[in-house]
Symmetry: C2
Subunit: 198 residues, 2 copies
DNA sequence: AACTATACGGAACGTGGTTCCGTTTTCGCA
DNA sequence: TGCGAAAACGGAACCACGTTCCGTATAGTT
């Protein structure tokens, strides 16, 4: 209880020094810049462009994010969490079956806005291997709840894994045509309804 | 009607010379090499690797295929045509609704085998913009026939565009897990069956 | 104020796509 | 059969980008 006044419980007691303030400032700046650049130019945007926008050197970015995918992950973590947080409101506003569809469409729009993210997620590039895990780990349980409710109401068939569905929707949404993406997702959701208990 | 003796009806009468034999030989060699390399290393394989395998310089490849996507297109044209040619046999062997599903699964396996092709197709990269057009132009009518038959038989709903379906299936098949891809496609096809005329 | 661990910035390196150009080969014609 | 020009070849050269490295600047400690 001597040093570290504000932040709750840090990690290693070996070092006495506090993390430098400029480092934390820069980290936040980099993430904000990356969020903008990803939205404009896709997740494959040049690192130098992100560095320039943040007003730092590329070395600084690599210091904080040794892998490019770490930066991508950091940027999208907050948005994934937001999608997860929306589920209760959507569940309250629709019938259980429609809630599944509505939440997936919302997820669609989120994925579609990130040019190239879907492709990167499923490219087989091992550098991005951790990203699907995060998405699935966070959103899988959320969707499972929605599916369970809809199943219990007899509105959709049983036996569909939420992870499959998330993968499917993110892939279907990987294009630029938002209207088409939405059509495809609706078609998929109707597949869930086929053979429901009724 | 004076020159050009052998080849039936060529194009421009402006030039007198025939295309050089070595050029045509090399073109065939390059396409064959690219087919092998794409299958092994994906469509993003280095150009130099393809050139080395074909025993030519990279300049030779760029002479024949100014855009990388032109080479990809050349390589896959034959396989797309093969998928199109299979449709009649599949239609004959199944009920109309099952034929749609069976042909789409066959198409799934074809797309899944080309590592990275699906991602490239829908990456938004303008260099690849011509590829979807070729796929859709060739396979769209084929699938439309299958859909029309299934609709007429009352086995699937009406109003689904074959182009949407092809896009959807190629995206769903873009991963490495073939079993998962097949599950997703089946789910999508069941979406077609939902709300059929019965 | 001096010291040192930490972080910074950007030059440097490796890789891969694409272009350019001097050299080689094919083909039409005499 | 030999010649000349057009066509094609090959690979060096150039550029863009991801990633690493290291000399310099600075926050935090004493």
């Amino acid at each position: 209880m001597s040093a570290s006044p504000s932040t709750s419980a840090s990690s290693a007691p070996t070092s006495a020094r506090r993390p430098r303030a400029d480092a934390q400032r820069n980290l936040a700046t980099v993430v904000a810049a990356a969020k903008e650049v990803f939205a404009e130019s896709g997740v494959d945007a040049p690192m130098r462009e992100i560095a320039a926008r943040a007003g730092v050197g590329v070395g600084t970015i690599y210091r904080h994010f040794p892998q490019r995918s770490d930066l991508v992950k950091a940027v999208f973590t907050t948005e994934v969490d937001a999608a997860a947080a929306d589920a209760p409101a959507i569940a309250a506003a629709h019938s259980p079956g429609d809630a599944v569809a509505a939440w997936l469409v919302r997820y669609t729009r989120f994925v579609a806005a990130k040019r190239g993210l879907g492709a990167a997620l499923h490219s087989g590039d091992t550098a991005y291997a951790a990203l699907p895990d995060y998405f699935l780990g966070t959103l899988g349980p959320v969707l499972r709840d929605l599916l369970d409710s809809a199943e219990a109401a007899g509105e959709i068939r049983s036996g569909t894994e939420p992870e499959d569905l998330l993968v499917a929707v993110s892939r279907l949404s990987s294009g630029q045509d938002a209207a088409q993406s939405e059509r495809l997702v609706h078609l998929l959701v109707d597949g869930l309804r086929y053979g429901a208990a009724r």
